[in-house]
Amino acid sequence: MPWSLYLALKQLFPSGRNVSFFSILSIAGVSLGVCLLIVVLSVMNGFQKEIRDKIVETTGHLRVEAGSVIYDYDGIMEALLGLEYRGENVIQAVSPYAYGFVIVQNRKVPVFPAIRGVDIAYEAEIVPFNKFLISGSVDDLDNDSVIISSGLARKIGAHQGDVLELASPLIIEKIKEDEIMLPREVRVAGVFETGWTVIDNNTLFCTLTLMQEFYGLEDGIHGLTIRLADGYDEEVDLITGKVNEMIAQGADFPLGVRAFSWLDLNRDFLFVLQLEKSVMFFLLLFVILVSAFAITSTLLITVVRKTREIGLLAAKGAKPIGLVACYTFQGFVLGVGGAVLGIAFALLALANRNEIVGIVANIFNKEEALIRFYKFTHLPAHYQSNDFVWVVLCAITISTLAGLIPAFRASRMKPASALRDE
């Protein structure tokens, strides 16, 4: 081992003496920053993963749309189900849908929710309705009934079994033609809650037949929802490209048909999630920066305290570059020590995160508030190896750079002047 590294380790961990208090403080500072970063990023990853899983669970992996009504879609469904990607049938299920808005009225409270007409036999293979139902049953859904989201049910005070009035936007068209289209009475077959606020606030499901009737689509649809087989979540963009390739080459597809992945459809929302995480990373990095200042001041004090020893080293043949290496390496070691300890603390905290949340909620007596506002009593967490790599790299780089100022100060010392300090 070069003398500079040897001496750096000896200054941090002296032979036969206790580890310097300054070293412990510096390592504690870096480890606190690393721990905070890992915990926050992992919890944010957990929330992101839950949201992403929820989006896929409620909307499928891909959608095929044309921007207009698609007729004769049986051939498209067949072609999609036969698509091969790397020699495998990757499309597990395809479900036709029609989509729009309706006017819903209950007890003279009107709302304008999104309505989605689906063929429940196909859609059940994509969306686990039974898992989301709070009341009622999917089996009760027929052409005279709807399933409504929990938020919508609250807004209009509707429950399972209630009868709602649904009016189609076609009313306006009919009025132009001097015709009257009366609202349709439908029964609430069930109430669902997915946990995905966008859907839970204002959505209504009905049969595809009812929706086609409502929107005057005849046997047309607005699009197809696709679920991929397990294990292809990460390759959804590539598979979307493959589907579009097939559409471009297939003569049976109507003009304008195009596939969109759930990533395409939610790109802005996912960007905001990623931006939040990046901002968090940036802000929490300042904890490590503050620790770096502590490292700089600690090492500067060491250099001042050891002026004569540095003079002695120079007198005994130590080169300035060796002195630079000695003090920079100390910053590096403090960074590595802080990063290792920080990761250990973070893993410990994350492993016991639910207990910690429970204790905090108990102390403030706010467990109910957590459930009511944040819809959770447990914190999700998801580890991403690149987060660990970035945090550790930043911590070590910043700590090493923190050692440079004292290192250059030490290397510029003139041995005779340093020894004359006696």
Partner: protein, 175 residues
């Protein structure tokens, strides 16, 4: 200043020619060394004496390459020394000179044996020969029982002997 007794006159281990050294002091300049000529032949011992503040330490710093001079020449083994090249001087000093300071300057984070081994470590990775030599030197100065002792636990006399052992570590030509 004068060196005594001689067996082999050339080349001198140390030679200075008309060395001048001044230090600024406020608006004034203090001339500490005023054209010193000095030679020290191999195998000789020299004693430098003078009143306090007369420039003994400055002169020793200059001949060991630790301090720059204003004018004059310094020669080690007949070779002129350029005091501007500190890095190169450090390597020569490490292999050819053993320095013992008034205050010893043992490093507190190293134990006694590690302190003595330090000059060898500064030249590169010390092997078993160097490790044994450090032990041997400590044995010679009567500190064989204190190899792993913290230097802070040593008495003043013991520190002095340890500093001497450290100065001898790299088999220097000049102490």
């Amino acid at each position: 200043m004068e060196a005594k007794s001689s067996i082999r006159p050339t080349p001198p281990v140390i030679e200075t020619r008309r060395i001048v050294k001044t230090f600024p002091s406020g608006r004034e300049v203090i001339q500490v060394l005023n054209g010193i000529d000095f030679k020290l032949e191999r195998g000789k011992t020299a004693s430098i004496r003078g009143e306090s503040g007369s420039g003994k330490t400055t002169f020793l710093n200059i001949i060991s390459g630790l301090e720059a001079l204003d004018s004059g020449q310094l020669l080690w083994n007949g070779n002129r020394v350029d005091l501007r090249h500190f890095g190169e001087l450090a390597a020569v000093r490490s292999s050819q000179m053993g320095l013992v300071f008034q205050a010893y300057y043992l490093l507190p984070e190293l134990n006694l044996w590690e302190n003595v081994l330090l000059p060898a470590r500064l030249r590169g990775k010390p092997g078993s020969l160097e490790r044994e030599r450090a032990e041997y030197l400590l044995h010679r100065v009567g500190l064989a029982e204190r190899l792993k002792f913290s230097v802070e636990k040593l008495s003043g006399g013991e520190r002095q002997r340890a500093a001497l052992a450290r100065a001898l570590m790299n088999r220097p030509r000049l102490i």
